[in-house]
């Protein structure tokens, strides 16, 4: 009898063991732990939301965050020290050229073939400009940033305001289509406390326009918007700086001209300050990232719910045609560190976030993540929690359109320094320390010296490849 009991016990144990092996076999990975890096705040939330989903795939994800402004320093420090601290990283395409060029990132083509992150679903411009480098896939998108013009619909639709605008400017009050018009509209809406705006007596000063000017927060993109629409690029094919061309100076002069119609502390505006200026009702218009539409329609965060209008960035008339280019600053991407001990698991997490869970991530007010896939743009229903489906469709169409005419960040080795020098001198021009021409000439001089220091031949070759990819997506002629 004892032998029978023993036999039953052994058989039961074997059965349990086999079952557990079977269950384990269903997971893709065998209880591996990887470390993820993302800038701190609302955009890191999906890593926490889907922790259980990652676990189901046999992956434990430890999240490390750093402030938005320190992402480059933090990642670069770890890469230089060769710590192998992170497996999957979220960063900005501005640094793609340097990180991929220095060999810090793992090419993902092999994994993409195995796990299919639906690359054909990604907006063409974003995929080509921000996910590929030197012909290899290095990243997957996480946040489809592009600037658009956001405005107060209630103000633009107000009958009195419309009539007053027509009396003053002899034209209809509509969201500005060109940069010249933007200046007029900004001036028109700027009012002092005590004056009336759309039938309401103002209790504090109101401004026509706001822009982002805080150094280190992609502030250059607010200048780039007009510069690029005037046909400007960062360098010519021989790596001679083009920023101090006539278009660059005009674009900078425009921002200086619009300053009287902006809040006085606009020089300190980063993302939050600019968002608040619009959604808390202190400004009539601004160029912003797409998430401002979601935040502006969230009663918990906004005073202008239902009144956030969106359209393409202003442009310039060329041969009777309107030409505009929407900068694509920031735009988070997911990559796998070359030093990762579990690159496949890291890629799988990136794939889940960039593809499987992406619609939920970009259509909630809890993140600042923005659409980047065709399946996002074609799904206004997912965004109808903030506004009627028709308005959501208009919003998505506007973003999609701006992405189609998008203008990329400079993702070249040393881009952090190139852009920092540019933003520094933009600041000097805003504060009238230098004239626009002097400021941009100084940038050009410094850019030349950076290029020489980093190796002109190599930089020219890499920039040539970038230009080629921009040509392929029709950004430049």
């Amino acid at each position: 009898m004892r032998k029978v009991y023993l036999l039953i016990l052994i058989t039961s144990l074997l059965l349990i063991f086999s079952c557990s092996m079977l269950v384990q076999g269903q997971t893709k990975f065998n209880d591996v732990t990887i470390t993820a890096f993302c800038d701190a705040g609302h955009n890191a939330l999906p890593f926490e939301w889907y922790a259980d989903e990652f676990k189901k795939a046999g992956i434990n994800v430890k999240l490390v965050t750093a402030p938005f402004g320190n992402v480059y320093e933090k990642l670069k420090s770890e890469f230089v020290a060769g710590t192998g601290a992170y497996d999957v990283i979220v960063f900005f395409p501005l640094y793609l050229g340097e990180f991929a060029g220095m060999g810090y990132l793992k090419p993902l083509d092999e994994y993409a073939e195995k796990y299919d992150p639906h690359l054909d679903d990604i907006a063409a411009g974003f995929l080509k400009l921000y996910d590929y480098y030197a012909g290899k896939l290095y990243t997957l998108p996480y946040d489809g940033d592009v600037l658009s013009l956001y405005f107060r619909k209630d103000l633009f639709n107000d009958a009195t305001e419309k009539s007053n605008f027509k009396k003053t400017y002899n034209k209809e009050l509509v969201p500005p289509v060109t940069w010249d018009e933007l200046l007029d509209v900004a001036k028109f809406f700027t009012r002092k406390s005590g004056e009336t705006l759309a039938g309401q007596k103002l209790v504090s000063d109101f401004y026509g326009y706001s822009f982002l000017a805080q150094r280190g927060s992609f502030a250059f993109a607010w200048w780039l918007a007009e510069f690029a629409s005037r046909g400007g690029t960062y360098f010519d094919k021989d790596m001679n700086p083009m920023i101090n061309s006539e278009g660059g100076v005009t674009a900078l002069q425009r921002l200086i001209d619009v300053l009287p119609y902006c809040p006085p502390d606009v020089f300190a505006y980063g993302y939050d300050e600019l968002k608040d200026a619009l959604v808390l009702g202190r400004t009539a218009m601004c160029l912003q990232w797409p998430c401002i539409w979601k935040k502006g329609n969230d009663p918990a965060q906004s005073k202008i719910v239902g009144n956030v209008g969106v359209t393409h960035v202003p442009g310039v008339m060329k041969d009777g045609k309107l030409v505009y280019r929407a900068p694509m600053p920031c735009g988070r991407i997911l990559a796998v560190a070359n030093a990762s001990k579990n690159p496949e698991a890291a890629f799988y997490v990136a794939k889940l976030l960039s593809d499987d869970f992406s619609l939920a991530n970009v259509s909630t007010t809890e993140t600042g993540l923005d659409p980047y896939r065709k399946s996002h743009f074609n799904n206004p229903k997912a965004f109808s929690g903030f506004a009627p489906e028709k308005e959501a469709a208009e919003y998505l169409a506007a973003i999609d359109n701006n992405l189609t005419y998008g203008f990329p960040d400079l993702n070249l080795p040393g881009s952090a320094e190139y852009i920092d020098i540019l933003e520094l001198h933009l600041g000097k021009a805003y504060t009238k320390e230098l004239s626009p021409k002097e400021a941009l000439d100084a940038v050009a001089k410094e850019w030349d010296s950076i290029t020489d220091r980093l190796g002109r031949a190599n930089q020219t070759r890499i920039y040539g490849e970038l230009l080629q990819s921009w040509k392929e997506v029709g950004l430049i002629d």
């Binding site: 502390d265 980093l454 190599n458 930089q459």
Partner: protein, 297 residues
Amino acid sequence: MKEISTNVLIGKNKFAKLITFPSVFILIITVVGPFAFLLYASFFDWNLTVPAPPRFAWFYNFGLVFKDLRFWNAFKNTSVLMIAGIITQSILGLIIAFLLNRNFRLKKLAITIIALPIMVTPVVLGFNWRIIYHEHFGPLNYIIRLLGGAGSSWIADPKLALFSIFLVDTWQWTPFVTLILLAGLQSIPRQVYEAADVDGATGWQTFRRVTLPLLRPMFVLVVLFRTIWIFKIFDPVYILTGGGPGIATETLSLYTYVSWVKYWRVGYTSALGIVQLIIMTIIAMIFVRKIMRRRRA
């Protein structure tokens, strides 16, 4: 007198060397090692943004430092903060120390409250003042507007930004100066004042001829410490303005940080560090000499 044998002395000497060895070793690892690397790196044209090997460049980086307008701007900002900070904090500190040197109720509590700013972590302090200076929601502008003023863009206006940092530094470090000077005041013997009184000295004469000369060593100490600390000022500047608007508030330590972790110019930043070290050593030597001369006298 009992003679100590040479063997015992040698043995003691060896033992002394042995027990200091761990500290010397740690010093070599943590101070001499990095300094040697800094010196070595300063002679190379070395960038970590491109995969190019370092190139020996003699004194090229040092030449660049002196030609770099941004270095001189940072030097100017640091010097302004240093001179304005030390003068203001010394005067304020002296006044508060005098007030605290009297006997009154709750004196201990007053000293504790005055010392609080020194204990605040600089990063926390930076964030607190960022809120205080906020154009729209900040209490400072709120109070100014209540009093009929217009309020200012404290950290966004290039004309005000450096002054705003100076205010924060003064708020945090005046208590330190106060405590040092208070200790100095309390160490002055009562008899000295009694003698001055007997000689018919007025209050001002006693202050000028007795108190100030006797406080002088404390002032030298205050100036030495504050010079070194303001020379290294980083956290409040980084948090409040990030060196901006433009480079209006960029200090030497912030520029060094940017040059290293934003631009990854290893050689140039090392030279920048060496230059600062030389400046600081000269300043420290002047003060230390003053203190030593006083002591010998």
